[in-house]
């Protein structure tokens, strides 16, 4: 398999043709980059896409913002100018160094499209005023609210992070333990499975009224609710992964002298890990949802609280600002979990498609 890749790679390198630049920079390229260059058949003027889009967006903004108050549009103007300058610098770098060009190739359309999206957003909001204010502020307005309220936003993000990690960690730990017990032991399975099947599907947020009554503090009950939301999928998929361990793996291990501890910790759990990770991903999604809901009804801090608070004051710029932060925040955590899976399940590489 590896050899196959090696061959096709060298074919690409030798088949690169005569239009390859002969300058010294070619020598510093690693093999992967040079194969990508071979695939980069796009002419160099494709490099203009991002700067051009940035220029258009900046131009539209300069025209439109004449109608807007200066303080609201200034930071966005600076942002777009910086972006435009960055795009030109990036294009020049890529024009000079093919290695960088090859690496950035896949990102170019994405950057172009997202800049144009900002342009379209500004056009239909403050440009043509197609959408009613204050519900749909312009990108400049959102950026300005983000900057004005940065201290509170940072504080909210921090509180959300602590609450999320606390609840998720608790849910994963308890779900893993119950999942292994249910998956491994027949008696535990007999009593645990019906309970799991009946109680588990209740959305964690439905327990909010009870949590408010029972728990001493809102933060604690929110953490417990997030843990509950995570616990169900993690338990379910851990249990199914453990109980579906191939019997032949267990048989082989037993004939090699393995005792029960070895069978659980070194055979069943590793064999169940792919399934456990599915549970971790599902749990993470559920934890985001529960976090935001719990924060907006009970807890007096965090991004969920911030959204409903800003909405109460009809400051929609702030609502969108916190949505942008949430997107970055949640997707970063999701990416970290993906990275963790790539490390832990490295043995699956080449076996299945992720």
């Amino acid at each position: 398999m590896l050899q196959g890749q090696e061959i096709s790679r060298s074919e690409k390198v030798t088949g690169r043709g005569t239009d390859a630049p002969e300058d010294a920079s070619v020598q510093i390229l690693d093999a992967a980059a040079s194969s990508a260059i071979a695939a980069d058949r796009a002419p160099r003027h494709a490099l203009l896409a991002v700067p051009l889009a940035a220029a258009v967006t900046l131009g539209v903004h300069l025209v439109v913002s004449k109608k807007e108050p200066l303080d609201e549009s200034r930071s966005y103007t600076i942002f777009l100018t910086l972006f435009f300058a960055g795009a030109i610098a990036a294009a020049l770098t890529q024009w000079r160094w093919p290695a960088v060009r090859a690496r950035m190739r896949g990102l170019r359309p994405l950057f172009t499209a997202s800049v144009l999206l900002l342009c379209g957003w500004e056009l239909i909001t403050s440009g043509l005023r197609l959408l009613p204010l204050p519900y749909f502020p312009s990108p400049g307005g959102v950026l300005q609210s983000m900057i004005n309220d940065r201290a509170l936003l940072f504080d909210s993000t921090w509180h959300s992070l602590v609450l999320l990690l606390g609840g998720y960690g608790l849910g994963v730990a308890s779900g893993f333990i119950t999942g292994v017990c249910i998956g491994w032991s027949k008696p535990v399975r007999y009593w645990g499975m019906p309970l799991l099947k009946v109680v588990g599907p209740i959305p964690a947020t439905a327990w909010i009224p009870l949590a408010m009554v029972v728990s001493p503090s809102a933060v604690f009950s929110a953490a417990a609710l997030i843990a509950l939301a995570v616990w169900f999928p993690v338990t379910m998929l851990t249990a199914s992964g453990i109980s579906n361990t191939r019997t032949s793996y267990l048989d082989v291990a037993r004939t090699l002298g393995a005792g029960p501890r070895y069978l659980i910790f070194r055979v069943a759990i590793p064999a169940a890990l792919p399934s456990i990770f599915v549970g971790l991903f599902m749990g993470l999604g559920a934890s985001f949802l529960t976090l935001v809901v719990a924060e907006s009804v009970g807890v007096k801090s965090g991004l969920g609280w911030y959204v409903s608070w800003a909405q109460g004051w009809a400051e929609y710029g702030k609502v969108y600002a916190s949505l942008v932060i949430m997107a970055a925040f949640f997707s970063t955590i999701m990416t970290l979990l993906f990275k963790l899976r790539d490390r832990v399940l490295v043995w699956q590489k080449g076996m299945i498609k992720w």
């Binding site: 398999m1 590896l2 048989d251 393995a258 070194r266």
Partner: protein, 265 residues
């Protein structure tokens, strides 16, 4: 007199029938075998005659209904590292590298620290030292089966049970692996019990061939293989023995051909 490596007396085993759970279906009946230390014995018979079940009983993974199974002077009570088992599917743990797979037995018995050096030795023995850090799905069928053999042998089992270990390999790899197993057997003098569908393989490799009957599996005949090693697959003695066994199996299979294969006369 030296005690036999393995002794089975009047072993019987039944399973609940597939169509009717109330009814017991007799799979093995009146099995009595004795293997000498260092002997390589093959077990052949029509499919479904309980060969694999017999191996599982010896491995201790199943419990017989009646009869006596002894390793040396000890009765078999459960799975133990002294009885290695290699399946047709190598069943390597996909999450462990080749080296770690071979280490499993040592780790499971808490001997990894003092015997770590043996891991290298066994990887060399099966010629896989360059693949130490590869994961099983990068290995070919023959290589994976060699890892499985090394993994079983590192425990120094008193007897190695082989359940069609070469059954999934192509003809060339299979012949090479037969020599490989013979080499391991000769160098280590491990007692081996080999289940196979391949009569040539049984004749090529074993000291004795046990022929079993159709369900319930009983022992039909035990044939000595009087040929010197290395054996020539095309010698007239080899071919005569082959014809003889095929005839027996044809009879044992109640006039149905073995595995859809027409016996050659």
């Amino acid at each position: 007199m030296v005690a036999p490596a393995l002794r089975l007396r009047e072993v019987a085993k039944s399973f609940p029938a597939a169509d009717d759970r109330q009814r017991q279906c007799l799979v093995l009946d009146a099995i009595s075998i004795s293997l000498d230390v260092g002997e390589l014995v093959s077990l052949v018979g029509p499919s479904g005659c309980g060969k694999s079940t017999l191996l599982r009983l010896i491995a201790g993974l199943d419990v017989p209904d009646s009869g006596e199974l002894m390793i040396g002077a000890e009765p078999i009570t459960g799975p133990n590292a002294e009885r290695g088992l290699v399946f047709q599917d190598p069943n390597l743990f996909p999450w462990l590298s080749v080296r770690r797979n071979i280490e499993v037995g040592l780790l499971a018995r808490g001997q990894l620290r003092e015997k770590r050096g043996e891991v290298e030795e066994f990887m060399r023995l099966v010629g896989l030292e360059t693949f130490a850090d590869a994961y099983p799905h990068h290995l070919s069928g023959g290589m994976a089966q060699r890892v499985a053999l090394a993994r079983a042998l590192i425990n120094h089992p008193k007897i190695l049970l082989l359940d069609e270990p070469l059954g999934a390999l192509d003809a060339f790899t299979r012949m090479r692996m037969q020599d490989e197993v013979l080499r391991l057997w000769q160098s280590r003098r491990t007692t081996m019990l080999l289940v196979t569908h391949d009569i040539d393989e049984a004749i090529y490799m074993s000291d004795r061939i046990i022929i079993m009957t159709q369900r319930p599996g009983t022992i039909d005949q035990i044939i000595q293989v009087p040929l010197d090693r290395p054996r020539d697959r095309s010698s007239s003695d080899f071919l005569r023995l082959r014809g003889q066994i095929l005839e027996l199996l044809h009879f044992a299979g109640n006039e149905t051909s073995l595995e859809g294969r027409t016996p050659i006369r």
